[in-house]
């Protein structure tokens, strides 16, 4: 079920009652876990851990409680190591998924939250990235700018933080718009 982005999850939802969280030492591990579990057919979601379990830049994976044991085995086999399992999702929040676009004529800017990616429409070349404040953002800027969107790895595969994850959402959107020819 999709909640409006950023909203805190109430405990009254039956589906939530049955879910728990894998916590990780860093965002990159959580993103890797999501990919591994999805590839193995699990329904999972990236969410913020509850406030009392946060260290600053955190991401956790929510999954049905009954699938916890099997999912953990799949993660270990993939060399992904959760820090902890929490048998509850109260107090979690979803990552913001607000995506907007700005047309600059020759260029298109897509924002996901406060992260932005700008492409040259005619060539699909990434001419700028901006926003955010985590240290992978300047790194992603160096890795992505000057290259075509269809020639670079996804930001979430290069980055390590929530800012990188948000930039990935902008990247996915701009690729979708370019491929659909909706940028002119």
């Amino acid at each position: 079920m999709m909640w409006p982005f950023g909203k805190k999850r109430p405990k009254t939802d039956d589906a939530d009652e049955e879910r728990g969280l894998f916590l990780f030492y860093d965002v990159a591990e959580a993103i890797k876990a999501e990919a591994v579990l999805k590839a193995n057919g699990y329904e999972v979601e990236l969410v913020a851990p509850p406030p009392n379990l946060r260290g600053g830049c955190d991401l956790s994976v929510a999954i049905s409680r009954v699938e916890h044991v099997g999912a953990e085995r799949v993660l270990m086999e993939a060399d992904v190591h959760p820090k902890e399992w929490v048998n509850d999702t109260e107090g979690t929040a979803e990552v913001c998924d607000l995506v907007t676009t700005v047309d600059f004529g020759e260029w298109l800017m897509v924002r996901a939250g406060n992260m932005k990616i700008v492409v040259e429409k005619a060539t699909g070349t990434i001419v700028n990235t901006s926003g955010g404040g985590c240290p992978d953002i300047p790194y992603l800027n160096l890795e992505l700018v000057g290259k075509r969107v269809d020639e670079v790895p996804r930001p979430k595969d290069l980055g390590y933080t929530l800012c990188g994850l948000m930039l990935d959402r902008a990247y996915v959107e701009v690729r979708s718009l370019l491929e659909a020819g909706e940028t002119t």
Binding site: F5, D26, C57, D58, A93, L98, G113, S130, P135
Partner: protein, 297 residues
């Protein structure tokens, strides 16, 4: 007065660098003689700060940085050196910028600075701001420079990263920076002064908006990575040079916009293009804006 910038640079495993920052004639930035990669982020921030210091004839900023591409290793390395560098450099202003937002490290750092440099002025942007707010330390800071998305983060006491901010707080329907500045202040999520960067820049003091800078409007600047960082660098350097905080923020906002006009900003430009324009912007405007009218040394 002296400015110390605590941050990271985008290089995997890059060593800790500490020392004066120099902006070379070709636009290259060096710290203690070592070149750091030109990108958005702290290099843009430091470039703008260097231009202010050079124009005003004050000491250049001192940086304490390390390579970090998001794993947090460089962030931990700079925090480990902070107390030692503080004792040696005796900064009057410390600015935290791009870094892994780790609340525990920021709590420790603020405690160290309070002991090492009593009365030091703290400012933060980017990951430094995220960590300070999430750790409940925002009110210890004199200045923060959030963008329109980040001010929503400061105003929401329950979130620890802007990625989790509720959508209604962002710069879309119902977005109200005046109200958000007040809420951020009232809930302990704001520094004493906020410079909220956007189409209109709002400067709030004690939760109340005291200045709005909206002209010239250069929408293309939002697309250029690092042009928010240059505002932060300008404000930090003006603060370090002794400007009152609100005046530092207003001058930073005005100078960034004027440089955007001067560079003929387009979405494919670089923040370094803006930094190049700053000396001329200062020469033409700082007298009127801040009474700095003498010829730079």
């Amino acid at each position: 007065m002296s400015l110390l910038v605590v941050a990271t640079y985008p290089s995997s495993g890059g060593p800790v660098l500490e020392g004066p920052v120099a902006l070379e004639s070709d636009g290259t930035l060096t710290i203690a003689g070592e070149r750091i990669p030109a990108s958005q982020g702290t290099s843009a921030m430091l470039g703008a700060a260097c231009q202010v210091c050079a124009y005003l004839g004050v000491e250049p900023p001192v940086a304490l940085v390390a390579g970090d591409i998001g794993r947090g290793d460089g962030t931990r390395a700079v925090f480990a050196r902070l107390a030692e560098v503080c004792q040696r450099t005796a900064p009057t202003v410390v600015a935290f910028h791009y870094m892994q937002p780790i609340m525990a490290l920021m709590r420790h750092a603020v405690a160290e600075l309070t002991e090492c440099a009593p009365g030091v002025t703290l400012m933060a942007d980017a990951g430094g701001m995220y960590a300070a707010k999430a750790a409940g330390l925002a009110s210890h800071f004199e200045l923060m420079t959030p963008d329109v998305g980040e001010v929503g983060f400061l105003a929401d006491p329950d979130v620890t990263h802007p990625a989790y901010v509720s959508h209604y707080l962002f710069g879309t329907n119902g977005f109200d920076p005046v109200e958000l500045a007040r809420t951020a202040h009232d809930t302990g999520g704001a520094s004493r002064v906020l410079l909220i960067k956007g189409v209109r820049d709002h400067i709030a003091e004690g939760g109340e908006v005291v200045e709005v800078v909206e002209a010239p409007c250069v929408p293309e600047l939002e697309a250029i990575g690092g042009t928010g960082d240059t505002i932060t660098g300008l404000a930090a350097a003006f603060l370090g040079a002794g400007f009152p905080t609100v005046e530092a923020a207003v001058c930073a906002s005005r100078a960034n916009r004027a440089a955007g006009v001067a560079m003929g900003a387009k979405p494919h430009h670089r923040a370094s293009d803006l930094v190049t324009e700053l000396p001329q912007v200062f020469a033409e405007n700082l007298c009127a804006w801040a009474g700095v009218c003498s010829t730079p040394q």
